[in-house]
């Protein structure tokens, strides 16, 4: 076998699948797989850039579905969205075992990388689930609904379909301030689009917006039962890191 190399890709999941396609067809085991943006030159290993190729990526995902399972493909996609470096190598190893073991691979929880892929996938799904509730839209002056968020994981792409189903009849924007990107949805087109949007973008609000924010704050205060105050449980379910983007003010009822 040739000396181990570092493989570099454009940072998209399709790009990663292309790398995996190449590795498996060349029967090579990588030293590392890194996003272009994260790669630092390394004296001891040679690097190869593999450019994104939709056909190869599709071919590879079909093989994963055929020989492992569609769940395995979904899990690795969710794990990929996690805020975790080196996840690519774990995904490689996971598929490597997967092609040997078939869909049983998910039972081998005693292997670190299999557990890791599943755990990262779960972490991403759980933040996704949480944010479906915690995202707050504000009505802008032109009638669009705008929400800012700063999630741990790169999951706009998972949230978008949920809000598309829910708010099909209004225009909305989901803005990931941490990564400087956004999903914009158009009610007329019934479709959404991922765009770049600078972190300090703020829309101008509609004249009724503050009134409803006020009403919500009032409701938030009055639903809490005073002699049962429990900030610990509150923080556990709704970690402080999400508070800056809420409308209500935790702790305001006592």
């Amino acid at each position: 076998m040739a000396a181990q190399k570092i493989y570099i890709y454009d940072g998209s999941f399709q790009g990663l699948l292309t790398v995996l396609y190449q590795l498996f067809s060349r029967k090579e085991i990588p030293f590392a797989i890194e996003k272009e943006s994260a790669y630092r030159k390394n004296l001891f290993y040679t690097a190869e850039y593999i450019s994104n190729n939709a056909q190869q990526a599709d071919f590879f995902s079909d093989k994963v579905k055929e020989f492992i399972s569609s769940q395995a493909l979904t899990d690795s996609f969710h794990a990929f969205l996690a805020d975790e470096t080196k996840v690519e190598l774990d995904i490689f190893k996971y598929f490597f075992m997967g092609f040997k073991l078939g869909k049983k691979v998910d039972n081998y929880l005693t292997k670190d990388y299999i557990r890791k892929v599943q755990e990262l996938a779960r972490r991403v799904r759980s933040e996704n689930h949480r944010l479906k509730g915690l995202v707050r839209f504000k009505e802008s002056i032109d009638g669009k609904y705008y929400a800012a968020l700063a999630p741990d994981n790169d999951l706009l792409i998972l949230l978008a379909p949920h809000f598309k189903n829910r708010f099909a009849v209004q225009d909305w924007v989901l803005h990931d301030k941490k990564r400087g990107k956004a999903v914009i949805y158009s009610a007329r087109e019934k479709d959404w689009l991922l765009i770049e949007l600078e972190a300090d973008f703020e829309p101008e609000l509609s004249q009724f917006e503050l009134e409803f924010q006020n009403l919500w704050q009032t409701f938030f205060i009055s639903v809490s039962i005073n002699n049962r105050v429990n900030p610990r449980a509150q923080r556990q379910f709704m970690p402080k890191k999400y508070w800056p983007y809420l409308i209500e003010n935790p702790g305001s009822s006592y």
Binding site: T110, E139, R166, L215, F219, S222, I225, Q234, F237, Y254
Partner: protein
């Protein structure tokens, strides 16, 4: 009165109703309507008391002609009163929903003027939401005891869930503390809703387009501690409601001393720990395959507050333990204290590949803290204490200190 003031009064008056779940309905909403309902239920915030906020939970009005002793809104109490209009409730719901503050509306009401008038207001509100605003988010509606069933039925075609609160777990307590809401007034709509749900689901199988009636099912609430019923009576009642009335959920609410009526017991505070134990037991009935009569017996009428009902059951059935994790069936694994459906499923899956020892279980992230006392792994018992009831009890019981902190 200003809308904000009404909201303050009427959400405050509704907050003691504990049901916050919004799960269970699906299939409403499409690309031309506002909103949909999610099978899994979503919490949108957590209030300062640590409870999930999922629904805009309000009373339509808290002007009440009745005088139920345990209730903060009863006629004889001097407190601020308010009433919404259907338009106000619909507007609030839609504006909150569009901003993703809420999963839907939970609308209840005191009985103002008379039961029919009150039910009509609730019906008008849901009609506005569904027909004018084209709102397809979640709606949970209270059926008003004593209202004409025709009104309840119409509302049921538009709501996702309906409930009638039983409040008091026996007829005699109800007669004493809520004489105007005689038991008949509660059970009749409950039975009616139950029957319609059943007819409707049969009819929907036959004719695809048949409209849905209360698709997320029916629930009720019981107040714990305002009347003398034992835990055994309460969970037997719940079991009956699940089995015979096909209820989706029974909610329990620790009685908060809200009035100084001489008919009510004097409590140091709401019996929260008891409420907690009842929820745990209810959970065991619904998801763990337990029956009420296994959990409590004529000789033991109430749950031990210091230990959860599952551990309590295990200690009273020590002859069935310890169980071997490599061979026990799924149902038995579920009965091991500390092992839930997820852990049980992981064990069953992983043991197909290898014989599991304690270390493997740890790697699977099965929490052994409690389970350890009740299992063996490949024949080995891992807890460093003798397998005796008294000793295990001491290990599993809530320590005095911790227990105090809960109140």
């Amino acid at each position: 009165m200003e809308l904000e003031k009404k909201l303050e009064i009427l959400s405050d008056a509704a907050k003691y109703d504990v049901s916050c779940s919004s799960s269970g309905s699906s299939g409403r909403g499409d690309s031309n309507s506002l909103g949909n309902t999610k099978v899994s239920g979503i919490c949108h915030s957590w209030s300062d008391d640590g409870r999930c906020i999922s629904l805009l939970k309000i009373l339509f009005t808290n002007y009440c002609i009745y005088d139920c002793q345990y209730c903060v809104n009863r006629a004889s109490v001097d407190r601020s009163r308010a009433a919404f209009t259907p338009e106000e409730v619909a507007k609030l719901t839609v504006e909150f929903y569009r901003r993703n503050y809420i999963e839907g509306l939970f609308l209840s009401s005191a009985v103002s003027k008379n039961p029919d008038w009150t039910m009509e207001q609730l019906l008008k509100t849901v009609q506005l939401l569904r027909n004018r605003y084209n709102y397809q988010g979640y709606i949970h509606l209270k059926a008003i005891p004593g209202a004409d069933f025709k009104l309840i039925y119409q509302a049921g075609l538009l709501a996702d869930r309906m409930s009638v609160n039983i409040e008091l777990p026996s007829e005699s307590s109800l007669g004493k503390l809520a004489p105007q809401k005689k038991k008949a007034g509660i059970l009749i709509p409950m039975q009616g809703i139950g029957q319609e749900i059943e007819h409707n689901s049969i009819a929907r199988k036959k004719y695809k387009s048949k409209e849905k009636f209360v698709p997320a099912g029916q629930s009720t609430q019981l107040i714990v501690g305002a009347s003398p019923e034992s835990d055994r009576q309460i969970i037997s009642l719940s079991e009956g409601l699940y089995n015979n009335f096909k209820l989706k959920r029974v909610y329990y609410s620790a009685y908060l001393p809200v009035s100084n009526s001489s008919l009510l017991p004097v409590l140091p505070g709401p019996p929260l720990q008891r409420e907690h134990r009842l929820y745990q037991a209810d959970w065991l009935l619904r998801f763990y395959g337990f029956q009420a009569k296994e959990l409590l017996t004529p000789g033991r009428n109430n749950f031990d507050l210091r230990i959860d009902p599952k551990a309590d059951w295990a200690l009273n059935n020590l002859d069935k333990f310890p169980v071997e994790v490599n061979t026990a069936d799924y149902e038995m694994l579920l009965r091991v204290p500390g092992i839930g459906p997820r852990s049980a499923a992981k064990i069953v899956k992983a043991r197909r590949e290898k014989i599991l020892d304690h270390y493997n279980l740890k790697k699977l992230r099965v929490v052994l803290k409690r389970a350890n006392y009740f299992i063996t792994c490949a024949g080995k018992y891992g807890a460093a204490v003798p397998f005796e009831k008294e000793i295990l009890y001491q290990r599993l019981a809530v320590k005095e200190q911790q227990q105090l902190a809960l109140f």
